[in-house]
Amino acid sequence: MKRISLRKMAKNQQGTITAVKVAGDLGRRIRDMGLVTGTEIMIQGRAPLNDPVALRIRGNTLTLRNNEADHIEVEVDE
């Protein structure tokens, strides 16, 4: 088990969110969309230019930009 930033996750890798370290509009938006501590996610894929990233969360798909993913810390298996 180790903690990495969401940006560093590979395609199809799974993990659990351990922290969302941003306040303000962006933090609010991220949390409103269901990305909160304890949520399981899986990387579904990336856009043709590698950014934004699409992830699977609770059976649905969300996308966010890499620089937004930086604020999200995820616990993943080695």
């Binding site: 306040a23 934004p52 699409a54 798909t61």
Partner: protein, 724 residues
């Protein structure tokens, strides 16, 4: 009689619009909330003895004042106190959808939950115990399928029962979300303070206000400060205290703690046996399989380009015939008026001002209808979100959003679009600054009406490299638009990018009804404008190009010339027709020169000589503000003056090429200016509407004209220095 109001609220993509359409049918009214660009939709519901106005609130994920939409939704619920709020939630995405529900529960309003798409959920192996869910939430929960209408009667009966008191409104004591010891303590303290002062006269529940302040909800904090500055100060101190404490002990923000606990509350509900998943949660559905192809690294962009290109093709080729039809109708009306009225100012105004002006605007209607139909398909099916996903990386460089691409293409990204539907297409953008930047830069694209100007001048001066020039100018329009967007985002529209975080909703087949309603309501908004602002501006422009007219002596002189022709030739002989035409042309051209527009054109030479334009070009440019098509016809009128040799019926292009005032360098300068100066006034009116303020529309005219002038002047002056 005071009509009953019901409000519809829910996440985007939860099927809110489908439900709204199913409940109200075509009895809808679309407007704007005062002061913001958020659309306000309401419609009438009528069944047996129950009648109500249903207001479709904007789709939101939360009530945290993240966006204008959320503030609008919240204010509506708090201020207009709808009799019942119907919260539509997506059964296949229950956890996230209940996040909004949990906030609505805290508002202590009469709430009915519509559990939508239970059919989709069932297909996905999700079973939901509806009765249990209702008991835990403390509000009625009705399973529905909005697309097919299943369960709608039961839903509305529940709403009616609540209005008429047969079901008690939710008991707030039952659902009280705990936010952890620290925050709960602070909330207790703040709630007492608020209650003591009876803040807002009880418009919001006290605890809810406290939660919002701790959550650092700027818009509500401002509201509190305005209502009671003293209290606002004290509440803020409490909120800051707990925020400090949380930061020191847990390295986290109160907003994060609150969100975590809301989701905790939802998890608690879902865990108590309400939901059973029969399959793996991350199982891929048909929609995901489609995405594997449609957002694939290579196939994705290719398919996207093909899709956008075919929309473009479909819109512009299919609309050609109906547009011609509309034009025929208007020219028929024009002929009719011509025959019915005697020559004079009234007739001239009716034909050149009213009919031509309104006709020009109505000519766009088929185009706009088709384009909105195509966009509605892309939007309702969920593909537009994928386009944004794929294009975002590129458009972000220029401070725009992935969804901007649509507006640019429609406006003429592939030469020959139209900025009017382009400006209206920005409506699909949810981020305000990115949307404004798109709105202000799409008119730089080469729309269909600029093409004749390009064709005329390129044909006359750069005939050897026609295709190359056309391509270069299309490319240039992209560069200018994107760079302008970047500059706007660094200056007047400065600000951090709006968070991109968004859903890729599952692909769905759009409902025909939904498409029709979408298309019609947008088209109707456009048509309404034709009768008001546009009619007025059109009459003003007509007057400017007509008055003060010629002196009586001049008029008499032309009558004399006509009489001479009559005396020399048979009245319908070829020579006579030709001579009459020549006299008409000269009279028109002289009238134009003498008109207000003509005088302005001459006065403008004092400035425009810098870019190489003489007064005749200036008049054409003024006319181009009415519609870019007018540039060519006005040039035609202006340059027919003084053409003495009736045998030499040369084309306008040849005439310009021969004219001493023109040269390839002047043509280049004029081309650049015409591509980038003020958008036509139909576009300007649309910008005013879409941005919600005339200031932006005027800004658009000024900044683009200034830019175009600087560009044209630099090219002309540098060209002259280089000896061209």
């Amino acid at each position: 009689m005071n009509k009953l109001t019901l409000a519809l609220t829910g996440n985007p993509n939860a099927g809110k619009t489908t439900l709204f359409n199913a409940l109200t049918g075509a009895r809808q009214h679309v407007g704007n909330y005062p002061g913001v660009t958020v659309e306000r939709k309401e419609g009438e519901y009528k069944k047996d003895n129950f009648q109500a106005v249903i207001v479709d609130l904007p789709g939101t994920y939360s009530l945290t004042a993240y966006s204008e939409e959320e503030v609008v939704a919240r204010d509506f619920i708090a201020n207009e106190k709808p009799a019942v709020v119907i919260n539509i939630i997506d059964a296949a995405n229950l956890e996230r959808n209940l996040y909004l529900t949990s906030q609505l529960l805290e508002l202590k309003i009469p709430l009915v939950v519509a559990l939508n798409m239970i059919d989709v959920a069932k297909d996905r192996g999700i079973d939901i115990e509806v009765a249990k869910l209702a008991a835990l939430l403390g509000v009625p929960v009705l399973p529905i399928v909005a697309r097919t209408g299943q369960g709608l009667d039961a839903l509305m009966t529940a709403a009616q029962d609540m209005v008429e008191g047969r079901i008690a409104p939710p008991d707030p004591a039952k659902v009280k979300i705990s936010y952890g010891e620290d925050i709960d303590q602070t909330l207790l303290l703040m709630t007492d303070l608020i209650r003591e002062k009876a803040l807002f006269g009880g418009k919001y529940p006290s605890r809810w206000i406290a939660v919002k302040i701790v959550e650092n909800d700027e818009s509500l904090i401002r509201e509190v400060a305005a209502a009671d500055p003293d209290l606002g100060e004290r509440l803020k101190i409490e909120a800051d205290k707990v925020a400090d404490h949380l930061m020191k002990t847990f390295d986290t923000y109160p907003e994060a703690v609150i969100a975590d606990h809301r989701y905790g509350f939802i998890k608690g509900i879902l865990k108590s046996g309400i939901i059973t998943h029969h399959y793996d949660k991350n199982r891929l559905y048909t929609s995901d399989r489609i995405d594997k192809v449609l957002t694939q690294r290579f196939a994705g962009p290719l398919i996207m380009l093909l899709t956008l290109f075919s929309i473009y093709q479909i819109t512009f080729s299919l609309s050609a015939l109906p547009i011609a039809g509309v034009e025929t109708v208007f020219s028929w009306i024009s002929t009719l008026v011509d025959g019915l009225l005697a020559d004079g100012a009234l007739k001239s105004m009716l034909i050149s001002g009213v009919i031509d002006g309104v006709g020009g605007v109505m000519g766009f209607v088929p185009l706009i209808m088709l384009m909105f139909f195509c966009i509605a398909i892309l939007e309702d099916s969920g593909y537009l979100a994928r386009v944004a996903f794929m294009m975002d990386r590129i458009f972000r460089i220029f401070g725009l959003h992935g969804s901007s691409v649509m507006a640019f293409i429609v406006s003429g990204g592939i030469a020959g679009g139209c900025a009017v539907p382009g400006v209206m297409a920005t409506r699909t953008l949810r981020s305000p600054k990115e949307r404004m930047a798109t709105l202000l830069t799409v008119p730089f694209m080469n729309c269909g009406a600029k093409l004749p100007i390009l064709a005329l001048l390129i044909g006359a001066f750069f005939a050897e490299h026609q295709a190359l020039y056309m391509f270069a100018f299309t490319l240039l329009s992209w560069v200018v638009a994107l760079v302008a967007a970047k500059i706007l985002r660094m200056t007047v529209l400065r600000g951090a990018p709006t968070p991109f975080v968004m859903e890729l909703p599952p692909y769905r087949f759009p409902t025909f009804n939904g498409l029709m309603i979408h298309t019609w309501e947008r088209t109707w908004q456009y048509i309404k404008k034709a009768g008001t602002v546009i009619l007025l501006i059109s009459i003003i422009l007509w007057a400017m190009m007509t008055y003060p007219g010629l002196s009586p002596e001049k008029k008499a002189q032309y009558s004399k010339e006509r009489a001479q022709v009559n005396a020399l030739y048979e009245s319908d002989s070829e020579e006579a027709t030709k001579l009459f035409l020549k006299i008409d042309n000269q009279q028109q051209a002289l009238t134009l020169r003498n008109s207000i527009a003509g005088r302005i054109g001459i006065a403008m030479e004092k400035v425009t000589w810098l870019s190489g334009f003489e007064w005749r070009t200036n008049i054409a440019l003024l006319g181009g503000f009415a519609a870019k098509e007018v540039v060519v016809s006005t040039l035609g009128t202006a340059y027919s003056m003084g053409d003495v040799d009736p045998e030499a019926s040369t084309s306008l292009g040849q005439r310009l090429a021969r004219d001493a005032a023109w040269s390839p360098l002047v043509a280049l300068s004029a081309l650049l200016f015409m591509m980038f100066y003020a958008p036509c006034f139909v576009t300007v009116v649309c910008i005013a509407r879409e941005s919600g303020s005339w200031n932006w529309a005027i800004f658009s005219i000024l900044y683009s004209t200034t830019f175009a002038f600087i560009l044209a002047t630099s090219v002309y002056q540098i060209g002259r220095l280089l000896g061209f």
